[in-house]
Each structure stands twice: as C-alpha cells, then as structure tokens.
Symmetry: C2
Subunit: 350 residues, 2 copies
C-alpha cells in the first residue's frame, strides 16, 4: 500500500466534513444530501483519484465483501470452469474471492481456512470438503455462511450444490448393460469423499435394480481421483484374475489411467474392454477412442453456488440441497463385448 487519497483529503478540498463525503460516495446514503453537494463531492473525488479503502470500511462495518473459495486442486480440470462461474457472479455483486487449494490434505485445509478467517471472509464456498468435516460444520454452526459445492458434508445442515450422481451412474450402467455387458468391473473413488461414496452406492443400487450383482473381487477403491490410481486399480482388477468386459470408473481421470494400463497390457479399448468415465473433462473428445462419460454442468454449478452464497450473505435461507442435472455423453469407449460382437458378425456376415 502507498499513500492514498482519503475521505479527509476530499473533505478538505470540498470544504465539508468527512462524514458528508462518506455519505455522498455511498449511493444509498447520498439521497439524504443535497444534490449539489453530492455532485461537487463526487467530482472532487474522481478528480483527486480517490479509491475507497475497503480495509478501513471492513473494520468498521464488520464485513469484507470477500468470500473464500476452497478447492481441492485447481489443476484438476473440472474446477476452472466452476471457478469462472463463481467469480463472475461474485464479482458482479461486488465481492472478491480468495481461492485456495487443499490437495485434499486436512492439515493444509485447516491452515488455509484459518488464513481465510483471519482475513475476515464473509462466507466460504467449499468445493474440497471431506464427508466428515467437523471444523467446517463448527463454523457453519457459529453462523458463518458456508456452502459446499460438488461435494457435501455428510450428515450436516450445510447447504450444498451437488450433481445428480444417481442419475449419472444409472445412465452409465444402463448403457453398458444395454450394450450387452453383464460382467462389469468398477474402479470407485475414495469413500471419504461424498462423490466417491455416492457413485459407488448408485452403482450397487442400479445393478441390484437390474437383477445383476457385482462380485466383490471386481471392485477396487482408488485412493484418489488420479490417472495413477486409475492405472493401479485397473492392474489390480486384472491381477485378481476375475473376468470382466467393461470397467465403470468413478471419474474421467481414473478412466484415463485405466486406459493407459489397458494399452500397457496390449489390450484395446473398446475392442477388449469397454470403459466409462464421469465429469466430462474438457478435450476428452480429442482422445481416441473418445471416452463415454457423464457431463456435469461445471460452470453452471459454480454460478448457482455463488448465487446461493450471495443469498446467504444477505441473510436469506437457501435450500439444503441443490442437485444439478447431468447428461450422458456417448463416445467410442463403449461397444458390445467381444463375444457378442462375434456372434452378431457371424449372423450378419459382411
């Protein structure tokens, strides 16, 4: 910070009291002043290059017009569009945002939350929350506006904006089953995250509803939503020696990891194994064979979450849970299983 023009300077220049200047500069209190004075003060202010000191005003009003946005990792591609959605809405409402990345590390998250609170954020938009987050729940209970995005604290009364995990998984499973797969392996996400948990539950429910069941040995739980974990889990599925014709992956990055493991084993997707993802990261359509996946509305979810946050900041009640719709994106990574294709081919010779 450098020396700035203050209200006092303007007051001196305009020959009025600081409080008058303060009033003149705020559109709502300006109405109580005479129009000439307001006009004169405002022109003096712009002429002198006045810039309001929000730190001082924050101290006085006890609100910073700032929100903290907590992410797991901005370099994970579903977040940049979400961040843009959030930023756009907040900025238009006069709020600025601190963005921090937790890397899903509890200790790091605590430090970052603390840094945000010291800086007096008016609310926290949390997209990196673990299902079990007592610290965040405590803040919310104290009355700080808190809203989770993409994930949720479970159970709690913290409002959340999440995606329709049930519908998404159901689409993928149905698509696989309709293609003729009955032996479907799964790489599920970390169960400490609501997304990992909900998708896994949705898988079991959907399979059961279709009269299928997934043998325990055809299911591996990843320790994180990364390509490396996708590869590792895929390898483990093979090493267990169980037979399957498709792998349902809890997100796109796990699917990409699985894809590279398939290649490493000289297998082809979709010829040997079909694969599905989740999230529809950008550029996925460029990758051969094109990953069949579930599209979530990242930017829109960000906008909705930010709007709900604004309502909370204005003291309004917001719905406990907002579920964003998802859509299915069919690409090349799912075909009928090999035996079925051979059967079809023998019936309809080219």
């Amino acid at each position: 910070m450098r020396k700035q023009v203050t209200l006092k300077d303007i007051a001196a220049a305009a020959g009025v009291h600081v409080s008058t200047v303060s009033r003149a500069l705020d559109p709502v209190t300006a109405t109580t002043l005479s129009d000439e004075v307001v006009a004169q003060i405002r022109s003096a202010a712009t002429a002198m290059g006045y810039r309001r000191n929000r730190i001082a005003s924050s101290l006085r009003t006890q609100q910073s017009k700032t929100v903290g946005v907590v992410l797991p990792d901005i370099s994970n591609w579903i977040f940049p569009p979400m961040v843009r959605g959030i930023e756009k809405v907040l900025e238009e409402a006069g709020y600025a945002a601190f963005f921090v990345n937790t890397d899903n590390l509890v200790a790091r998250e605590e430090r970052l939350l603390s840094a945000l609170l010291e800086r007096g954020v008016d609310g926290i938009l949390h997209a990196a929350v673990l299902r079990d987050s007592p610290a965040l729940a405590a803040l919310a209970a104290e009355g700080l506006p808190v809203l989770t995005l993409n994930r949720r604290v479970d159970p709690s009364r913290i409002p959340c904006v999440i995606n329709d995990e049930n519908a998404g998984i159901q689409m993928m499973v149905t698509h696989l089953v309709e293609a003729g797969h009955s032996q479907i392996a799964a790489i599920s996400g970390p169960q400490a995250l609501s997304t990992g948990m909900m998708r896994q539950q949705a898988l079991l429910t959907t399979l059961a509803g279709m009269g299928l069941r997934q043998p325990a040995c055809s299911h591996v739980e990843a320790n994180g939503f990364s390509e490396e974990e996708g590869s590792r889990c895929c390898a483990e599925l093979f090493d267990r020696g169980n037979h399957f014709t498709a792998i349902l992956c809890a997100n796109d990055r796990l699917a990409l990891g699985a894809l590279s493991e398939l290649r490493a084993r000289g297998l082809s997707c979709p010829d040997d194994v079909s694969l599905t993802g989740y999230n529809d990261m950008p550029y996925l359509d460029w990758i051969a064979p094109g990953l069949t996946t579930v599209r979530i509305e990242q930017a829109e979810a960000g906008r909705v979450a930010a709007e709900l946050m604004l309502q909370m900041l204005n003291g309004a009640e917001v719905p406990q849970e907002t579920v964003m719709p998802v859509t299915m994106i069919r690409r090349g990574s799912v075909t009928p299983p090999r035996r079925l294709r051979e059967l079809q081919a023998s019936r309809n010779p080219v």
Copy 2:
C-alpha cells in the same frame, strides 16, 4: 464476520494490557517480554480460540499480506499449474492471493484492478497483461510492487518472468526444416500480446537465419489463442490457395483448432500436413497423433514469479527480466513432407 475473541478479551483474562498481548503474540516483539508473561498470554489466547484480525492489523500497518493475481482465463490450461506454483510460495510466506480473470478485456481488467487496489493488495502479479498497459505501468511507477508473468509490458521497467520464446520457436522451425519442410505456413498469435509478437518475430528471424523466407500469404494472425481461431486461420490458409506442407502454430490451442480443420477437410496430420504447437498443455500426449510442441515450465514459472514478488514486497531489487528455459517435445504431428516420404520409400522398399 461474527463476534470474535479480541486482544482486549485476552488482556482482560490475563490481567495485562492489550499492547502486552499484541507484543506477546508477535514472535519478534515477544522477545522484549518476560518469558512467563508470553507463555501465559499465549496459552490464554489458544484456550480462548483467538484468531488475529488481519483487517485491523492491515489498517494499522498499511499492509494486507495479500497479493492480487491477474489471469486472462483460469480455464486456459497453462494457468492452473502456474497458479499452484504461485499459491504455494505465497502461502508459505503468509500471503493470501486474490485471483481474477480478465478474459483479455481491458474494461474488465480495469474494474478488477480497482477491486484489488481497494482491498489493499500489497502487490500485483499480472499474467494477463497487454503489451501496452499504461494503467499498470502507472501503478508500478507509483511504487506498487508489480511483476508480469508469461507476458510483458513492452517497453517498460516492470520486471517480468517470461519463457524463452526465441529458443522455442527456433526449435520448432529447425525441427520442421530438418524433417524436410521448406514451405511452412504459420498461424501466429495476437500481436497485442507479447507472446504473440515475440513468437512471430522469432519465426521470421529463424527462417531468415536459415536462408528461408515465409511468403506473406502463408501467414495468418489469430485474434486470440483459441481453438476456434485456429480453425478459422487454418481455413484461411487453404482458401488463399498457397501451398505448404507444415503449419507452425503460435500455441497448442491454435494447433488443435487447425487439426480439426484439417480433419474437416479430409486431410490427415501428419500425413498431409505437419503441425506444431506451443506450451505443452496437459494431456496433449493422449491426443492422436500427439502434438509436437514446446514445453514451458508453468508451475516453476509461477514459483519463480511468486518468489520475485516476495522479494519486491521486502523492498529488494529484482532482475528486469527472468527468462525460463523451454524444451522441445517431439510427438507424432511432424513427419517429412509427403513427397520426401515417397522418395524415401521408393529408395528403401519394404
């Protein structure tokens, strides 16, 4: 903000004066106090759940321990790793960062800069700067620590961390020429950005140095670094009817756009046209045929820039220009031109 424990509360509890508490909580001033008092105050503070109010301290000390980071668009993939690099370094030094996206819009940038300054940022790390940025130059001249990243203001005395554009382009051109290309078209970036400008100049210099020259009609300037512009420019190159066997693109997104235009025209990369990119966005190796490109050290550049910013915040001088090294990434998008391949094939029949 909600009611918080203040220094006054701790002072009352510990039976000392607020100023003593303030001193006890700051590691450096604590040395002037007796050890017992410090210990007692500190334990009282943690017991009461004290959290320092940085807004109040900012007002008093005139520094917010906050920096503003200005990006063109976080959803452009070279930025997330850079942001992580920046955040990591700043956070370790006790700084928090406001991140904003300008979309390369001057009006938007002005609003955002203003929002940052009102919030009393101690410095600005700018990765979205136009070559001509008088407003930013003015801030720097006033003494605000300003540093540009990836791009630079031209000419100015604002320190910058940029990539070695000359070396990068030279690598790409040399690679194409060595593969046998002599008719090289180019899609250059916006000349209002230092990256666009420097890469274009490097192209001309390199070609001239190799005794080649680029006909004016084989060069199209994109209005932005996007896939759409890449497609449009590629189409324009064809529509002009000039012959070429390779296109050098000023960044990866332009190259991807060109690639899809090639496909739309029933042409193949690299069989019909070789393509090069710049930046090495993540996941580029997943895309067939694999884009040959220049890797820039995104995260490292972010770290370096943040460290320089910290030095500036401490009042130290920093180098006017820091150039990060680049490396060449060879993938499948460059092969010898068709005629040369056919010639080679006829000499060495399989």
